[in-house]
């Protein structure tokens, strides 16, 4: 992509170097891919807790009298069903139903906070400004001044209880509130991208390093480990959470990506509604499908998928050896007829077709707070 010299750095860049992280380019940012090792960090999150720097994510503030009607037009989910103090996953779609980005919308009562993908921030913000015309609303890209950390894993709640206002650790699933964590003003949400219980914390960029240090310190005895983008990817993969640019793109629609639950056709008009209604009526041709490798080999993003007669039928979107399940798993788009559990097809691994079998998604059942 861009020259390494042009890569952006989060407020925690120096911390990552000091912890011996391996740094890589991701979405225009120089980010830690691992510290102690992907498998070690992955296990820490499944069994104890992990701390991730996700300050590369984009954050957009939406406020004003028309904030709700604007968001209702912008995304596929019913934003009126997200009360103050709650949040939900939502998609921004093109008029043809293709996915511009997947987002998380937090209702803060006086405003909405929209979290978007780092690599899409410029595109998304331009699109949101374009769509805001005619609405009495202020759309502000606050990415630069916002630090974002994810504290994930079964030990996250107990850790937060020790360092934050009591009501924060007691937030319900997808709940969000303002409060104080290790003496630092923060927005705290019970959300994440790992398939575990946990929290995401938004703070002023200048407070991010202090929050990082305090949390790592407070969590050391409980097994908290700094985790990089490698474990973030393997964790979300096991929970079958979509990654933009892989499972979802402008060329995929929510129904084939198994995200129909995020599309609320009856909430009133929104961008992409007509196309999505038609796609739903006509039915999809292909579907995102989870599979397990039957033969020896590991599927990777963009590998070709063939039917058992050798004809190309699709592409892998993500694939890797699952650290928790000990199997070589993958996701990819295949024709609907081959998308049901038990269907067999082949993944082309370095010119060699390797048998794979469709399995139930998600691979790992998320353990969210009820």
């Amino acid at each position: 992509m861009s020259d390494r010299g042009e890569l952006r750095r989060t407020p925690l860049y120096e911390r990552h170097l000091a912890l011996g992280a391996r740094m890589v380019e991701f979405g225009g940012w120089e980010m830690p891919v691992q510290y102690s090792g992907i498998i070690d960090e992955h296990r820490a999150v499944r069994e104890a807790a992990g701390l991730f720097d996700i300050s590369h994510m984009g954050e957009v503030e939406v406020r004003g009298p028309d904030a709700l009607p604007f968001l209702q037009r912008l995304v596929t989910y019913d934003v009126a069903a997200i009360p103050p103090g709650q949040s939900n996953y939502a998609l921004m779609c093109l008029p043809n139903g293709g996915i511009i980005d997947d987002t998380f919308i937090y209702n803060l009562g006086d405003s909405f906070l929209i979290v978007i993908n780092a690599a899409n921030t410029t595109k998304d913000v331009a699109w949101m400004h374009e769509c805001a015309k005619g609405f009495d609303v202020v759309v502000t890209d606050v990415s630069e001044r916002t630090g974002m950390l994810a504290l994930q894993g079964p030990a996250a709640e107990a850790l937060l209880t020790r360092v934050a206002d009591a009501d924060l650790a007691a937030l319900p699933f997808h709940g969000v509130a303002r409060g104080v964590v290790t003496g630092i003003p923060a927005i705290v949400a019970r959300t994440g991208y790992t398939g575990e219980d946990g929290f995401e914390l938004f703070v002023a960029a200048e407070d991010a390093a202090r929050l990082w240090d305090e949390l790592l310190d407070a969590g050391r005895d409980a097994g908290l480990k700094p985790c990089g983008l490698g474990a973030r990817d393997s964790l979300r993969f096991e929970a079958c959470l979509a990654l933009y640019g892989h499972e979802i793109t402008e060329e995929t629609n929510p129904y084939e990506a198994r995200l129909g639950w995020v599309v609320k056709l009856d909430k009133g008009d929104f961008i992409g509604r007509e196309a999505l209604q038609r796609i739903k009526q006509e039915g999809v041709q292909r579907r995102l499908t989870g599979f397990e490798m039957v033969g020896r080999g590991i599927a990777r993003g963009d590998y070709e998928i063939r039917d058992l007669d050798g004809a190309p039928i699709g592409r892998v979107t993500s694939g890797m050896p699952s650290p928790t399940l000990g199997k070589n798993l993958g996701m990819g788009y295949v024709p609907v007829a081959l998308s049901t559990e038990g269907s067999e097809f082949e993944i082309v691994v370095r010119d060699r077709p390797v048998r794979a079998r469709a399995v139930k998604m998600p691979f790992y059942r998320p353990r969210y707070k009820k």
């Binding site: 691992q34 090792g37 992907i38 498998i39 992955h42 590991i298």
Partner: protein, 129 residues
């Protein structure tokens, strides 16, 4: 961090090492390569008897995150593969120049461009910065 580069071996730009003894040779990946790759979880080994040109892809080593092709530093025929790697691929991380060897080959005449340990260490230094 300094990576081990044993003086008696020769090296390729794609981070394989080769120990040539007469017309036979042993091939593996370097300490730098195993560190850059992270935990090796799978090794794709070639069939014994297969012939490869110099720089031909003879297999792959894979971590959770990525697959990395293996290039044969010189032309030759595979005469043995390290079958211990099938069940314990982490030998590549633990002992890249010893128990983590990957294949043995019969070297074809006309050995190509290889680097000495000193030249390889300088090369790794240049790509790290």
């Amino acid at each position: 961090m300094a990576f081990a580069t044993p003086a008696e071996l020769q090296y390729s730009k794609t981070h394989e090492w080769i120990r040539i003894e007469g017309d036979e040779a042993t091939v593996g990946i370097t300490d730098y390569a195993q560190d850059a790759l992270g935990d090796v979880v799978y090794v794709d080994l070639p069939q014994v008897g297969t012939r490869f040109e110099a720089d031909g892809v003879f297999g792959a080593v894979e971590s959770v995150k990525a697959a990395s092709d293996l290039y044969l530093p010189v032309a030759g025929e595979i005469i043995a593969v390290n079958e211990a790697l099938i069940n314990t691929p982490e030998l590549i991380n633990k002992d890249p120049y010893g128990e983590g060897w990957i294949v043995k080959i019969r070297v074809a005449p006309g050995v190509g461009a290889l680097m000495s340990a000193e030249a390889y260490a300088a090369f790794v230094d240049s790509i790290k910065h």
